[in-house]
Symmetry: C2
Subunit: 665 residues, 2 copies
């Protein structure tokens, strides 16, 4: 692939982006699309209908970008909660670190790569992209210190930025805990594995156990019932137990209750909206088996997915393709076709296949037995992350470079060397991947194609006038975080090997900043809150990316016979791992358990202000499994119970506005 | 090596064992050796001096074996505590499982191996040992189902036995918790990372923090002081905090106290005798760094140890040795010399080198920052276990088979195949290792050579009449558990490959049963108690051994082209791992945390019986760092503080009897 092919790809993608963003700026002005692009406001504050038709409505404009730009972090926090702010911090962190990386790599590393060998350079636009990678630097070059220096600068700045992010997010999480109004979930513990006894009902057992061992703090409890109508009042060993103080609830949740660890299993209850009711009726004894089964299922899925990826990768190696399918030779000889096939088609195919992944992983996470939606999402996020890094990064790198042989992982010791050979060679593919998957996916995200089509179908074909009752979606953290982290991984690993990827990546992150902010402010609603629990995943993955980059660099310096650069890289790996361990010790416990000091202070404040009675009254009605029991929360309980099929979208209902929002801001 | 060489080795070892055990039976009758062989009784119940000289004292006898045999598990529990019983359970488990293995392997597998190929068999005593291994079975043999069946029977019986052991040990641990008299450690929490404040002393900070957040249950506290005489009253951020109930202490120990997880770090305090005072003054912030540093140190030590092991392994391959050192050719041609060098010398050299390992690992564990002796011992136990399995098993297997090449671990996928090739070939070495290291080490253990020599030196050269004040040793779990587990690993992996090892191994375990029981009953004292916390290590290692055996069998069946046997082995691996996961869920939490239910019941019992006041009085004097503060526990505090050098023996003082025990039972 040469510069022209890259520019073709960039051109196509820029055009698509511009068209889609312009289309978006027009579509969002149409009042009929209110429930697609302004769900957030539609839910929170129903505004009067106002629809004076004017030409302005058909002219694309960039005013939405200005408005998104002007929004502050406080706005995001108010609308999307801590999770939304944490998500935006990932984008901001990526922008910062890749600006530094781009500066150092474009101005220092790129010239060294380009002039790395005594050769006759072609015209710049006909120059192969490989001339810009580290592959062009000759063995034993004295200029490899620039790569080592760049690696040091990138690693150190990433670690420093990560440290401050972790610190501020920990602070934000604590502020979220202390600042949030008393919620039923703070006082509630979910108990599973209630032992069966022939003399008592489960409810009696719970009452007896907690009034015996927690006489001072136990308030009451509420059983979980089996799904379905006939056995509504049956035989389920799970309950919500309410406590007098937050601290008592946390203690009851953390302490091992019984001498049989499979009985009286306690954990803090999820928020009422967050409860995944159908999983509550799973016997606790099954949970560990389900976890293993889904783990195996996910691994099998990851491996089976190799088939399309390997095929896609074949497309970038045209010689081989036309060798395997001789009838394609004629077509592939056309220059434009060649650019299209090598530069664009592989990414598109890959993306289409990747669309099947999130629902599958979400299904696995639901089967796993998670009792809350946020937990299920986090579990799916981790699965998708592993999946993406394995299938997009490793399989592409390894199958791309050694496509003709199957024994990719036969050799452990050679992995750094093999990666070092493969990553620069695959940099071209990754650059086009950023262009197509990255840029285009953001445009698709902003335009909400699926919701838009549904809306059009409803309004203009079925001619339903009133707004749908459950159009509000929660933010898809589980698909978007792995995506951002994958691009981070690509950026780190390619930075000193093939710096040309960095400008495209920066454009991606800037665009992501605008698009995701817009979506958080206008489209997605936050129904439940994990309090920033995604950040440790992000932190660990970034450290993984850094260490992988360093290992690859080690391999490259080995191939290029630069013992000094290799020697300097080893302590860098060691210190990066050490830094990670420090952060794990210093920050991560706060993301697993709430500090006693904070909870006790909050309990005392409640007591002082006399808000405690109010909370007790709330407790009894908060966790409502069936609509008939408590009508005020019926919709949530009802829909959340019956929407297992559509596990990726979570269309829980929220009171929708009866009138349309004013759209022409 | 042939049968004759093996019998030579066995003969030497049997002779050594008989001589040493006879010598022991004589030496133990000498009253002057009372402090070597009856330390236990010397400490607990001083009996009147009675020494009528008679000839009987010089005649070897087996009466001690009878007495050991007649002792019950209750005796062991009373004398050595739960840890001693758990240790004996390892031996009993091994005897049971290897009796089953020996039955099935000797009567079913061994004939199949022996007649595995159409060959002319030599006289049985000149037959090479390799004829008895699976290496003798021809490829594609129809008889490999016997090996697969044996593997199934061994794995299933091991799992069933493990399950019942884990269950009964869990029960024993709970009975130990509920049955033990109120101990100060139940009510005490160790606090580290007390934040420094310019206005308050550390003591004031502790008082303020716990009386604010635990007003109902906080009793008092006691600061930890810096070691040394000058700064005795200094500036240390650690303290013991005493609580009103066991439950309150457990809660304070388990809950995250502060929003900075490096401050106010709590854990249940170790028993007073168990406290490792010098490590208490380590700032908590250093602990994670120390852990990493010692981990690295231990890994480096493990790798450097390769040098002597590789050399030792060379000795079993005589051809190569005489090729490298031609001057040895003459000596090695002598038949007896040949037997000695191949059958005995390698093990002896290896054992000598292995003697350096426990003190080193104990030193690492002390540097790690463990706050109690039992924790330090457990940490050292794990290190020595990894070390032994790596250096005795893996390095021998891999360097023995591929001694000429260094790229042992270049290939991941081939590991099962490589192990499958190597283990049967190394079975001979392992058999002699069981004979020499196993049998001889037990004889050495019973005779207590080092203590005996010290005693002789004191009594007959220095002519000191009174008994030494600190001759009591605690049981060396950290060296003996890894040894037993290593022999278990050898037994499992060799069982179906080379069944000839099993009878020797069974003799080892029977002997171990007698010797360790004797030592627990008569020699070692138990000063602190981990409550059976060694068992999860034993369980996990046994599962590892089983899975490794199954993987090796998979490799062997692959080499022998028996797809059916391979096919049956894969589900076996899966179910073994699943079984382990079940045990981890079902039993292991009880070994990490005490169940609330049990503690609350105990607290209520204390209240009912009015023993609570008595405990509070004990609390204030129990944790005494310096002898001057509380004279009644001075010796313990004093010696435990100054014996850091001799980390492997722990010669803490205990009140010794003034008179000698009656020895001629």
């Amino acid at each position: 692939m040469d510069i022209t092919a890259l520019l073709t790809s960039a051109g196509i993608n820029i055009a698509i982006c511009v068209v889609l963003l312009s289309l978006y700026s027009v579509l969002r002005k149409q009042p009929s699309n209110g429930c697609v692009y302004f769900t957030q406001r539609l839910v929170s504050e129903p505004v009067k209908y106002s629809d004076p038709f004017c030409l302005e409505r058909l002219v694309p404009s960039a005013s939405w970008i200005m408005r998104v730009w002007q929004a502050t972090d406080e706005d995001i926090l108010a609308v999307g909660g801590v999770d939304a702010v944490v998500f935006m911090r990932i984008v901001v962190f990526s922008i910062r670190v890749f600006i530094i990386a781009a500066m150092i790599c474009i101005f220092l590393v790129l010239p060294v790569n380009y002039y790395g060998q005594d050769m006759q350079h072609k015209q710049i636009n006909a120059e192969s992209l490989e001339v810009f990678t580290i592959g062009n630097v000759k063995e034993g070059s004295k200029w490899l210190w620039t790569h080592c220096l760049a690696l040091y600068i990138i690693s150190c700045s990433a670690c420093v930025l990560l440290y401050f992010e972790y610190k501020s997010i920990t602070k934000m999480r604590l502020a979220h805990i202390t600042g949030s109004p008393p919620s039923p979930s703070h006082f509630t513990v979910l108990v599973r594995g209630i032992p069966w006894s022939p003399d008592h009902s489960y409810s009696d057992s719970v009452e007896k156990f907690f009034s015996t061992y927690y006489p001072a703090s136990y308030v009451s409890h509420q059983m979980v019932y089996q799904a379905g109508t006939i056995d509504k009042l049956m035989e389920r060993p799970a309950a919500f137990v309410f406590f007098r103080t937050r601290y008592a609830a946390v203690i009851a949740a953390q302490v091992l209750q019984s001498s049989n660890p499979m009985l009286w299993v306690t954990q803090l209850a999820p928020e009422p909206h967050d409860v995944y009711w159908s999983n509550l009726s799973i016997p606790y004894k099954q949970v560990w088996l389900r976890k293993i089964a889904t783990l195996l299922g996910a691994i099998v899925f990851m491996l089976v997915f190799l088939v399309p990826v390997t095929f896609v990768q074949g497309l970038t190696q045209l010689d081989q393709l036309s060798h395997t399918f001789p009838f394609l030779k004629g077509i592939l000889k056309q220059k434009y076709m060649n650019h299209l096939v090598t530069g664009y088609l592989p990414s598109v195919i890959l993306i289409l296949f990747l669309y099947a992944v999130p629902p599958t992983m979400m299904l696995f996470s639901a089967m796993e037995g998670n009792v809350s939606r946020s937990e299920r999402k986090r579990s799916a996020c981790i699965k998708i992350l592993y999946f993406t890094i394995w299938n997009v990064f490793f399989v592409n790198v390894l199958s791309g470079s050694v496509i003709s042989q199957l024994s990719v992982f036969s050799s452990v010791r050679d992995i750094p060397i093999q990666l070092a050979k493969a990553v620069p060679a695959q940099a071209t593919f990754f650059t086009t991947y950023v262009l197509s998957s990255g840029w285009a996916s953001l445009s698709c995200e902003v335009i909400q194609l699926f919701a838009l089509l549904c809306n059009v179908f409803r309004k203009f074909i079925l001619r339903i006038k009133e707004e749908p009752s459950n159009c509000a979606l929660t933010f898809p953290h589980h698909t978007e975080i792995p995506r951002l982290l994958l691009f981070g991984l690509l950026g780190f690993t390619c930075s000193i090997m093939a710096p040309l990827i960095l400008p495209f990546l920066l454009v991606y992150f800037f665009l992501a900043f605008l698009v995701y902010r817009n979506q958080i402010l206008h489209v997605y609603v936050s129904k439940y809150e994990s309090g920033g629990q995604f950040w440790p995943i992000v932190h660990n993955t970034t450290i993984f990316s850094l260490v992988l980059t360093q290992i690859i660099a080690l391999g490259v310096f080995g191939i290029k016979r630069s013992p000094i650069a290799s020697g300097f890289t080893i302590p860098l790996i060691f210190f990066t791992v050490l830094f990670n361990e420090y952060c794990r010790q210093r920050f991560s416990p706060v993301f697993k358990r709430s500090p006693a000091q904070v909870l006790i202070e909050m309990d005392r404040q409640d007591e002082r202000w006399g808000t405690i009675e109010e909370i007790y009254n709330q407790l009894r009605s908060a966790y409502c499994q069936y609509p008939s029991i408590s009508p005020d929360l019926s919709t949530a309980g009802n829909t959340s119970h019956h929407e297992d099929k559509e596990s990726s979208q979570d269309p829980e209902s929220l009171t929708p506005g009866n009138q349309l929002v004013k759209l022409n801001e």
